[in-house]
């Protein structure tokens, strides 16, 4: 989970898009924490790896599953500002990192049947159209295909676990 610390009323001075780019950059480089100062605005970004779920704060900020942001929590000395942040648009998902989400509520299966090997594992090269997993609800088997080609870099869900609508299932580094 991350926190962005800034002077709330000056966030606008540093463009939201710019902050998003910074978040993605740090994520890609595998940084655990970094700080940037520009035009008197200081932003510190802290990552904690291995987080599986994204919690959207009430009244929430649309989070981008690709980058598990726990909202962009503003905290400052005079942190009374609870003004809603502008929603993070879908484009936040950067072009190189593609997140496959579940189109239905159901049960996640990593393999076609319990005795078969997983469709894919981290490190695999996947092609667009390749089956990545099955999400089942009420004997409706939803084969989830990759819409992009690239390297599978993350599996968010364990076999036979329930998943929610829109929940991230895989991350793929597009190539």
């Amino acid at each position: 989970m991350k926190k962005t610390v800034a002077k709330p009323n000056e966030v606008a001075a540093m463009d939201m898009d710019e902050i998003r780019r910074l978040i993605d950059l740090g994520e890609k480089k595998g940084l655990s924490e970094f700080e940037v100062e520009k035009s008197g605005v200081r932003v510190r970004i802290k990552y904690s790896r291995g987080a599986e779920f994204i919690r959207v704060p009430p009244g929430g900020v649309a989070t981008n599953p690709g980058v598990p942001v726990e909202g962009l929590v503003q905290s400052a000395e005079n942190s009374v500002s609870t003004a809603p942040l502008p929603p993070v648009p879908e484009e936040l998902e950067d072009k190189e990192r593609y997140v496959v989400k579940s189109p239905i509520v159901g049960t996640f299966y990593a393999s076609p049947d319990p005795t078969a090997p997983s469709f894919v594992k981290v490190g695999d090269r996947v092609k667009a159209g390749q089956v990545l997993c099955i999400v089942e609800a009420m004997k409706l088997m939803n084969e989830i295909e990759s819409e992009v080609s690239g390297e599978l870099i993350k599996v968010y869900v364990e076999n036979a676990q329930p998943v929610e609508y829109g929940e991230p299932l895989f991350a793929i580094r597009v190539s």
């Binding site: 609800a137 409706l140 088997m141």
Partner: protein, 335 residues
């Protein structure tokens, strides 16, 4: 038998049906199927083995005298009237799996209502790689391509609609008392006679297609030992042989109207009807096997997605997305 052979035998059958009661020359058949006359003769033998009464007219050709209850597309279509489901029917004497074939058709653009029927399946599937026992000529092994104007979240509800469609079709023909075990097993006297397995292709926000696989045990007179305590057929329950053609037609018509209803009015109507019919909807003591665990509880209705709510013995309310439900055999504990 390879697929081309299967298709050609099917074409032969349709040729015979189209020209029933008249003599079709062996030469004409050979020409249409692009095979030799001796090949035609072998396939005619095969159809005879399936119960077709085909008279060989010396030096001329063949005449179909009697057709068994084969699910020949023309015959099924006669049952369908003006329905749009079943306008295109792919019929096989034998196939690996109707769902696999229908999925391929759907991927290459097969339209809504396209139907795949087989007299037998070599690897009929159930959930999680289980087998569906598909005895040739006895059951209905059917897959239908649906392209509903529904969000993917409503896709699973279509499997309840399919179970209702088969149930309604059987109701029209017999006076059997049926139950539906969540989500979509049709039961008579605690034994299953119809199973549903659907495959969906969807993206976030849109269903590309659903292939609805329906297996109905119609005229089976026995089952393998391993499943005989779990499975039954309409014939075993009534002692009568039923027309698979009529039943197929009825269930396709009903499925079409239930799908239309869902598109127009949403899924609540399906959930309500399911709940009226199924003894599993409420206050049923069940054993739930889901996601590698199992527990006992009492059913507490369906939610708006058709998911089953079960109140566990420890008081927790669980919502079940997938898995199997069995009527609990153990007596309810007295408190």
């Amino acid at each position: 038998m390879d697929e081309i052979t299967v298709r050609k035998i099917d074409k032969l059958l349709n040729l015979m049906v189209d020209n029933a009661t008249v003599v079709v020359s062996g030469e004409k058949i050979a020409r249409e199927l692009n095979v030799t006359r001796s090949q035609v003769w072998q396939w005619v033998e095969r159809l005879r083995n399936l119960g077709c009464e085909i008279q060989g007219v010396p030096a001329t050709g063949y005449r179909l005298k009697k057709m068994p209850d084969l699910l020949a597309p023309e015959l099924v279509r006669r049952e369908l009237g003006t329905s749009s489901f079943g306008k295109t029917i792919h019929h096989f004497l034998e196939i690996d799996s109707t769902n696999d074939y229908a999925t391929q058709l759907a991927i290459s653009g097969g339209v809504e209502g396209t139907v795949v029927l087989a007299e037998g399946q070599k690897s009929g599937r159930g959930r999680m790689g289980r087998q569906w026992y598909s005895e040739p000529l006895k059951g209905i092994y059917c897959s239908v391509i649906l392209r509903p104007g529904l969000p993917p979240a409503k896709g699973p509800l279509l499997t309840l609609a399919a179970a209702l469609a088969v149930r309604d079709a059987v109701c029209r023909m017999t006076d059997l008392k049926m139950d539906i075990r969540w989500p979509n097993d049709l039961m008579i006297g605690g034994k299953k006679f119809c199973g549903i397995l659907a495959e969906m292709s969807a993206e976030v926000g849109r269903i590309r297609f659903v292939v609805m696989g329906i297996g109905v045990n119609v005229n089976h007179t026995s089952f393998p030992k391993e499943i005989s305590h779990l499975a039954t057929s309409l014939k075993l329950e009534t002692g009568k042989t039923w027309s698979r053609i009529e039943l197929t037609g009825q269930m396709l018509k009903r499925l079409e109207s239930l799908c239309r209803e869902m598109e127009k009015a949403g899924g609540q109507g399906i959930i309500n009807r399911w709940s009226e019919i199924s003894s599993f909807a409420e206050h049923k003591r069940v054993e739930v096997h889901s996601n590698g665990t199992s527990f006992f509880g009492e059913t507490a209705g369906l939610d708006e997605n058709g998911f089953l709510r079960v109140k566990r013995d420890d008081g927790c309310l669980e919502t079940i997305y997938s898995g199997s439900i069995a009527e609990a055999n153990e007596p309810v504990k007295e408190s």
